[in-house]
Amino acid sequence: LAKTTQPISMDSYEGQEVNITCSHNNIATNDYITWYQQFPSQGPRFIIQGYKTKVTNEVASLFIPADRKSSTLSLPRVSLSDTAVYYCLVGDYRGNNDMRFGAGTRLTVKP
């Protein structure tokens, strides 16, 4: 299973764009990159998933370079309610390579 490395914590201010980068140097050919968000006392919540290049949805964008050894979650114009832990997961959900969580990045958005 590919190991992921993320910053332990990040601070930002309301209205700013936040970019969280995840390293996954030994990502396999069949692996996808998935990001989850977790608030205290809740289960993780799916944000976005991608394989290569760029993926965008109503919540975030995911940038994946050609070598796929890293990925960047971009949150546009964050608000206080975006304060949470963000997890980067790498795995092939279509097979037996189930998603494993790392330590995550604790994002704190300040007013």
């Binding site: 809740q42 289960g43 919540r45 799916f46 959900y93 790392g102």
Partner: protein, 116 residues
């Protein structure tokens, strides 16, 4: 649609007792997962069901843990006998493979287990 439901939300039991956690996945989701986070640690994978079959149980810590998913609907996770180190939050998640790229896994709010 209803989300993933876990019961109970909290449980406090004494060491040596038995506890059974229940997870009701989203209707129609074939995949069901159990994860747990013990204090100060990362969320760890426990096992994965596809319908009623155990696809991967490599994360189960020991034989005191037993997971079942009879009929491929809800799942139970039994801990017998419970030990102090079993304390933590147990999460259940479900997914449907065909739309997982769009929706990923849907997690429940978890069961907080405290063994005293």
């Amino acid at each position: 649609e209803a989300g993933v439901t876990q019961f109970p939300s909290h449980s406090v039991i004494e060491k040596g007792q038995t506890v059974t956690l229940r997870c009701d996945p989203i209707s129609g989701h074939d995949n069901l997962y159990w994860y747990r986070r013990v204090m100060g640690k990362e969320i760890k994978f426990l096992l994965h069901f596809v319908k009623e079959s155990k696809q991967d149980e490599s994360g189960m810590p020991n034989n005191r843990f037993l997971a079942e998913r009879t009929g491929g609907t809800y799942s139970t996770l039994k801990v017998q006998p419970a030990e102090l180190e079993d304390s933590g939050v147990y999460f259940c998640a479900s997914s449907q493979l065909r739309n997982q790229a769009l929706y990923g896994y849907t997690f429940g709010s978890g069961t907080r287990l405290t063994v005293v």
